[in-house]
Amino acid sequence: MISVSRVTRLLLAVMLTGLLPGCGPAHVVVEGKFPAPLIEPLPMTLGVWYGDDFAGHEFFDESKSRQESSWIVSTGVAQVQMWNTLLDGMFTKVVQLTRPPSAGQPVANVDAILVPHVEELQYAIPRHTKVKVYEIWMRYRFELLSAGGTPVAEWNMTSYGKTPTGFLQSDQEAVNLAAVMALRDAGANFATNFTRVPAVRNWLQEQGVQTESVSP
């Protein structure tokens, strides 16, 4: 038989357990659908390596006051999904590498290897800015290597996504939508500017790859 004090303790425990999620960080696992690019593919085979820091990319922002909550924004899965779709449409063939590229170990049957990194992610919600949009900003760093693993080019690229406040829309849903917009913007920026990166353009010319101007 359960005593009254035990029932009280159980009820208290259940109530506290119910309250705990409200105290934890707001967690957003970014999910979205990404379209293939409408672009003439570059006639080359690209190897791509997603490091653990990229494929499992997660952003953590600790709250600065008791009124705010901490945030975890996991973009890794969506990053890989978006970049796979984009690169598949940008190059005639894309090969996902199973081990990291290195100078001493050439990769067979590829013309070049791309290694993307997410260097920085920032977010803003209307409570922070008093502006009625949710925003995500990302900074990428790309390394383009030859099949032999020697550096060809290295450059930075930014992307930005925002979404307006919506009726009955939670902060998490809006941050997810802003992140999806930022990923789309990253794809648009990369697709329209890849052949304009000076070191990339020179290397493509050396390889005899025709590059059409794809200015927006």
Partner: protein, 218 residues
């Protein structure tokens, strides 16, 4: 041929004693109206998303598209997201053409030209603007016995539609609409929101003008 019109609409919704009112003004400037409708061609309505402090709401873009499609069954309105995905990455905020002459450069790319031909886009309508909450007053206190008090707030909607002729690569019309409305929420035990349909009124105003422009039946 150029036509210019200005209309002001004023109407109220709610209960007779306490109603929420909206005032809307629509400006229209048209240069080359199609004389025989769109035929088998289609129209796409897109929101401008360049500004840093606001976004043209996707709901508003959808509302205007639905208004036009329901007003004339012969007009094919392509869904905004469907179009953006079909022509990705060329109509993203970073890459979207800002002037009709930019279309020419875009169509130099074979895959884009082929896609546009397949979609049969004759008119591209850009919507730019947003609905903002501009002020509020009153107070309300709620307890286990219910809520007591009174609150009021207002919304301003300002939108501009720019119509591009995709064949001639020129702007052929502009429609501006602005709407203002006051919403109320009295509470005696139960709060009763009386919401002014500001964005909906702006949608109807701009939608009607665009429908008159595009439709052969109007």
């Amino acid at each position: 041929m150029m036509a210019l019109s200005l209309r002001t609409v004023f109407y109220c919704v709610g209960i007779p004693l306490l109603s929420a009112c909206v005032t809307a003004t629509v400006d229209e400037m048209v240069y080359n109206k199609p004389t025989a409708g769109l035929g088998g061609d289609s129209v796409v309505i897109l929101g401008r998303r360049h500004a840093s402090d606001y976004e043209t709401e996707p709901d508003f873009v959808r509302c205007v598209g639905d208004y036009i499609a329901s007003g004339d069954n012969s007009i094919t309105v392509i869904d905004e997201l469907e179009f953006l995905n079909a022509v990705y990455p060329w109509f993203e905020p970073r890459t979207a053409p800002l002037h009709p002459v930019d279309i020419e450069r875009l169509l130099r790319q074979e895959p884009v030209a082929e896609k546009m031909a397949a979609l049969k886009v004759e008119y591209m309508i850009w919507l730019d603007g947003s609905t903002e909450r501009t002020g509020g007053s009153g107070s309300m206190a709620c307890s286990l016995g219910g809520c007591f008090g009174f609150g009021t707030w207002s919304h301003d909607a300002n939108y501009e539609a720019t119509i591009w002729d995709f064949t001639d690569k020129t702007a052929v019309g502009h429609v501006n609409t602005s709407a203002t409305g006051q919403s109320y929420m009295p509470a005696v035990i139960v709060p009763i929101p009386i919401i002014a349909p500001v964005q909906g009124t702006a949608c109807d105003g701009i939608g009607q003008q665009l429908l008159e422009f595009l439709s052969s039946e109007q």
